[in-house]
Amino acid sequence: MTRFVLTKILHAIITFVLSGIVIFFGVRLLPGDPALAMAGEEATPERLDAIRADLGLDQPLLVQFLKFLGSIVAGDLGDSTRTGLPVTSMIATTLPVTLWLALYAIVVAVVVGIALGMLAERYRGKWPEIGSNFIALLGLSVPNFWLGLLAILALAVSLGWFPASGYVDVLSDPIRGIYYLTLPAVILGTSLAAVITRQTRASMIETMGTDYVRMARAKGLSRPRVLFRYGLRNSLIVLVTIVGLQLGGLISGAVVTERIFALPGIGKLTLDAVFSRDYPVIQAVVLVITASYILINLAVDILYSVINPQIRVSEDAS
């Protein structure tokens, strides 16, 4: 177990360092001279040199890379060229919005997905299964931002059930905060819910057909009990993996969802930075997103080994 966790942590660190290298050289591939971009076209050569020295661009690449790593560890990601604010504080205000949105979307997707998947398994060959399969297929095929536009039109503007845009801090006003995030979270969770529905159904059908479940049923255990004790437990293992794998898609989806519902999250920060060529922010946002991805997947891997002892045994052996 310890060895398994340590290996995973080591892998996470390697992945992060490699990602850092990709980002570092990616930023250096950007066209144009960052010093020129910051100082403007009329800047004197002396001024440009001063900015270059300030940014450390006159030093060897290796030194620059080490400094880059050092600044990450120190938590200093520079200042935005667009707003002049420290990038860390800009991320600190926008990241929670996205995290709440993503967390809410995952909860919605897991609840809806498990419910629909179990429904399909319970009523095999009948209309609930057909309906569940159809909803899952639609969920996989629909572009979520389009669904968002339609939802705003129907549920927010015409019926007035939900606000069309805006964000209320979840911690300072939980009820209103959750209410404002409901529509965006449902929209963001759509495709994840579809994937979970399909997987839950598949793994439930598989588990319920195994000998140990038949044995448990023969022993006199009621169907619901078997379902929750064996069926759901096995589905959870698959579920944890899916959420980990779908995280990248969820982050991409969050960017477009934030755009549609005008949420002040990290997606909005990213887009604003891209369109104003605010390189320090782009670099920092990419870094934060990859780091979150790696951290969450590390957590998923460890969680996975807790739920499924088989995994840590087999991985330890290998």
Partner: protein
């Protein structure tokens, strides 16, 4: 890096590779199998419709995709001459849809091609050589840590947003799953009797990978490709919607939706059709992909 891929269907391998059927018979059999279910028929018909629209877009479109007519803005669907109506600039929506579907397919197919061309050889190597496995796995992890939108942001920042950058971003983000699929198949096939037999006859590693493992892993690659295509189509529309993909005046279903968002209350139908078009393309390939998977792997029927 040399890629030991040989897609030559040598008759002599047949005895060694019982899973591998003659290709033309197999294609016929597959098609019959796909068309044996209602979902398979619907999916196949939809795929054919999408392909026809994509290939013959210039013939289907009554107008140019960027041809404005300021005298007829916001025509409602059903107007004579403009079946699906017009947008704010009086551009014909039918024409823009046809070219948009074409662009979606282009990006989707490019992304699939990239994922297959890069992912398949890496998956074969990772599955066959244990030493390479951990190196390739770390590279896969790094790629997975960059969501496609972030890759697209990076490419857009480096060389400007475009159709090809969108396709590259979407393709790269699908490489890891392709590697995993092929790696899994390779590991499974490596212990199959016909591969062991080939190893025993002292066949070269390139020959084993290319002639014995690759043809049998091909069905998994094809199934994965049908999963990647709709994902890439949605991804393209998302990127273009955000201004990170195809650039106006080039047509894209995502750009149409982003334009429509501005006057959604005045002309909701402008937002309806592009979304329905994306939905149609993705339903087509998802249905077809499901039927294909069931046909290739009868065991999956009980599951999915």
């Amino acid at each position: 890096m040399s890629t030991p891929i040989v897609t030559n269907t040598d008759k002599s391998t047949q005895g060694l590779a019982p899973e591998f059927h003659a290709s033309s018979n197999r294609a016929l059999w597959l098609l019959r199998s796909i068309l044996s279910t209602p979902m398979g028929i619907i999916g196949s018909v939809m795929v054919v419709i999408v392909l026809i629209i994509g290939i013959f877009a210039p013939l289907i479109a009554p107008y140019g995709f960027a041809q404005t007519n300021f005298e007829v803005p916001f025509q409602v669907p059903g107007t004579i001459g403009y079946v699906f109506g017009t947008d704010d600039l009086g551009r014909d929506i039918l024409s823009r849809l046809a070219f948009g579907v074409r662009a979606s397919l282009q990006v989707g197919l490019l992304a699939v091609a990239l994922a297959v061309v890069v992912g398949t050889p890496l998956g074969l190597l990772a599955g066959y050589f244990r030493g390479l496995d951990s190196v390739i796995s770390r590279l896969t992890d790094v790629t997975l840590a960059f969501p496609f939108l972030i890759i697209a942001v990076g490419l857009a920042a480096i060389s400007g947003p475009s159709l090809s950058n969108a396709a590259i971003a979407l393709g790269i983000s699908q490489v890891p799953t392709m590697i995993r699929v092929v790696r899994g198949e390779t590991m499974r096939l490596k212990s199959a009797d016909f591969v062991k037999a080939a190893i025993a006859t002292d066949a070269s590693k390139a020959r084993i990978l290319g002639m014995h493992i690759l043809p049998n892993a091909a069905s998994a690659v094809i199934v994965q490709a049908t999963v990647i295509l709709p994902t890439a189509v949605i991804g393209e529309s998302m990127l273009s919607f955000l201004g990170l993909g195809i650039q106006p005046p080039s047509p894209s279903l995502g750009i149409m939706l982003s334009d429509a968002q501005q006057y959604i209350f005045r002309a909701p139908s402008t937002a309806l059709f592009p979304g329905l078009a994306i939905l149609f393309i993705c339903l087509a390939f998802n249905l077809f992909g499901d039927a294909l998977r069931d046909a290739l792997d009868p065991n999956s029927k009980k599951g999915h």
